[in-house]
């Protein structure tokens, strides 16, 4: 509700905050006891941020104790005077209001520092020693007006409580008085609540940052640190080290640079699909795949077949050529798309292909033909191998 007291109390007592709020409201309207209780709880419950209740702070500050005592005694004096004039119900109605006023002094002493600063400025302005019409002074004026209005409302509420002539409609009068006091208190304490809100949102931002950091740390731990550990353990196997480092580099790069594009559907184009082939083969076979693409085209059924045939050819080179690098070059031209897969490995005699090279003819040639494309293999013992795949581009439908 106001200072978050109901909610805090609810947490403390382990009850529904709504119930606490209703209880306060009801008690406020029935004789103003709720208000007093509210302020008391406000004083005594420790603030979540620093763990100190305002009461503790107030007690540690001698000046506050004095102030509270002074206000309280003044009020008691007034009450006694009223009691002497009228009947005891007035005192009954008044006492909670008095307690709350005394408590508010303590609250005020330890509330927003900018308020006190504004008050000081106002004092300077009134005494004529400060420069006028600066934004700070205007702020001070505004703060002073707010304070005056608040104090006025409180005074009005209190005086209504104190006035014997309204006793006939006692309940209604008390209710109005209570509302007046609450409104006054709200006005005075508004900046403090605002500050609390600001602090809360700042805290939330900080928490978001911390979460981001934690996520990054977790990611680095899962990826980079794991890989580094693996690399240390496989220091004797250069190929394995290379494979690990390459895979990690790729992963980190895509994590760093592609984060904003995560929502995008993956591998929609030829270049992206060939990239995936490159990554898979490098990871699975531990050799370098040097991929160069010129132009790009959206992946349709034909191009998917072309990518599959490319994969087969690259895997073949990885398995059989003995070379440590395979070159893949893809070019998208207006009427045709070609892919070249080349290695500088041991090569073979295409006319004397034995059964174990079936992979090439079956999955590469057949696949390409089914989609209207063509595959050609050029190789010779000791000359390396080049597979050329071409797929005519379908006219846009």
């Amino acid at each position: 509700m106001l200072g978050g007291v109901a909610a805090a109390l609810a947490v403390k007592l382990d009850i529904n905050p709504l119930a606490a709020r209703i209880a306060f409201a009801v008690l406020t309207f029935v004789g103003g006891a709720g208000l007093a209780l509210y302020v008391l709880v406000w004083l005594c419950l420790p603030a979540e941020a620093n763990g100190h209740s305002i009461a503790r702070l107030a007690l540690a500050d001698g000046k506050t104790v004095g102030l509270v005592a002074a206000v309280a005694s003044g009020l008691v004096a007034a009450m006694v005077a009223v009691a002497a004039l009228g009947s005891s119900p007035v005192v009954d109605a008044l006492s909670p209001g008095l307690v709350s006023l005394a408590g508010l002094v303590a609250v005020w002493r330890h509330a927003a520092p900018e308020d006190r600063e504004a008050a000081n400025r106002f004092a300077l302005l009134v005494s004529g020693s400060g420069p006028s019409a600066t934004p700070a002074n205007r702020r001070a004026l505004f703060a002073a007006a707010r304070l005056l209005a608040g104090a006025g409302l409180i005074a009005l509420g209190t005086s209504t409580l104190l006035a014997p002539k309204h006793l006939n409609g006692a309940d209604l009068a008390v209710a109005f008085a209570a509302i007046g006091v609450v409104a006054g208190v709200s006005l005075i304490l508004a900046p403090w609540w605002l500050r609390l809100g600001r602090e809360l949102s700042a805290e939330r931002r900080q928490r978001a940052r911390a979460e981001e950091r934690a996520e990054m740390a977790a990611h680095l731990h899962d990826s980079v640190l794991q890989t580094l550990a693996l690399i240390q353990r496989s220091a004797g196997d250069p190929q394995q080290v290379q494979r690990l480092a390459r895979a990690q580099e790729r992963e980190l790069r895509s994590w760093l640079f592609d984060q904003g594009r995560e929502q995008k559907v993956e591998a929609v184009g030829l270049a992206a699909a060939l990239n995936a082939v490159q990554q898979d083969v490098e990871d699975d076979h531990g050799l370098r795949v040097d991929l160069v693409t010129v132009g790009d085209a959206p992946l349709d059924e034909d191009l998917a077949a072309l990518v599959a045939a490319t994969r087969e050819a690259v895997v073949n080179a990885a398995k059989w050529s003995g070379a440590d690098v395979v070159f893949v070059y893809a070019e998208v031209e207006p009427d045709e798309i070609s892919v070249f897969v080349r290695d500088k490995g041991k090569g073979f005699d295409p006319s004397a292909v034995a059964g174990d090279r079936k992979g090439l003819s079956e999955s590469v040639h057949a696949r390409m033909h089914r989609h209207g494309g063509a595959a050609a293999v050029r190789s010779g013992p000791g000359e390396g191998t080049e597979v050329r795949l071409t797929m005519p581009k379908r006219p846009a439908a």
Binding site: R288, D290, V292, V294, V325, F327, Y329, E331, R342
Partner: protein, 229 residues
């Protein structure tokens, strides 16, 4: 990249520019291992690099295209202003076409990726030191991509001499992109290795001098890291 015997010649004087000290150490270890090259100096930032390169007069400078304070291209420009004969081979982790093209346009005579093997790197250094151009498959792909399509006829400064590749140059670049060495290209096209080299040098010149609008636009489109995150 030719596989000529280099052992008999004097070691190549190489200067290393890279802001990663660890990487410099690795490269130094690799290229000096065979005695084919010696490292005459190193630098990790633009100012130091410019100063020391001018002092040590290396045969070839091997430099990283991504560096703080304007990076590799800045070093190339500043040194060439003072010593126009200096030769640069650009090196990068990969991918950032814009940086690569900028280094070449600043005056680097070649580009290789950091995944290059040691013998290939030595060949490339030797070629650049001798005044040839070195195109890795990736750079060839970049260039083909950048010069692809018809140039805008409305372009104010369009110069067919500079803004278009000839059919032969295109063929040579395609073969480089397919992983062919200069010698293999020569055999494939029935021309001499010298002719291949002169085609590549011509492409390099076009790359450096072309006003072709697409070159910049293309590099921008290829840019992997967004300008402001």
């Amino acid at each position: 990249m030719t596989n000529t015997e280099h052992q008999s010649r004097a070691p190549l004087k190489v200067f290393l520019v890279d802001d990663h000290q660890l990487f410099r150490a690795g490269v130094r270890h690799e290229i000096t291992g065979t005695g084919e090259a010696e490292v005459v100096g190193e630098a990790g930032d633009v100012a130091t690099a410019t100063e020391r390169i001018c002092q040590s007069a290396p045969d070839v400078v091997l430099l990283d295209v991504h560096m703080p304070d304007g990076g590799g291209p800045q070093v190339v420009r500043q040194v060439l202003e003072r010593q126009p004969g200096t030769r640069f081979l650009a090196l990068s982790v990969s991918d950032a076409a814009e940086d690569v093209i900028e280094s070449i346009r600043a005056g680097a005579r070649g580009y290789v990726t950091k995944t290059i093997s040691t013998p290939e790197l030595l060949d490339a250094l030797r070629l650049v030191a001798e005044g040839d151009a070195v195109f890795s498959p990736r750079l060839a792909g970049f260039v083909l991509d950048a010069f692809a399509g018809l140039p805008e006829p409305a372009a104010v400064h369009f110069d067919p001499e500079l803004d278009q590749l000839t059919g032969r140059e295109r063929e040579v670049l395609r073969l480089i992109a397919r992983g062919y060495a200069y010698k293999e290209i020569a055999r494939e096209l029935y021309i001499s290795v010298k002719t291949v080299e002169s085609h590549v040098s011509a492409v390099l010149r076009k790359l450096q001098l072309s006003n072709r609008h697409q070159l910049t636009r293309w590099a921008m489109e290829r840019r992997l890291v967004p300008p402001t995150p």
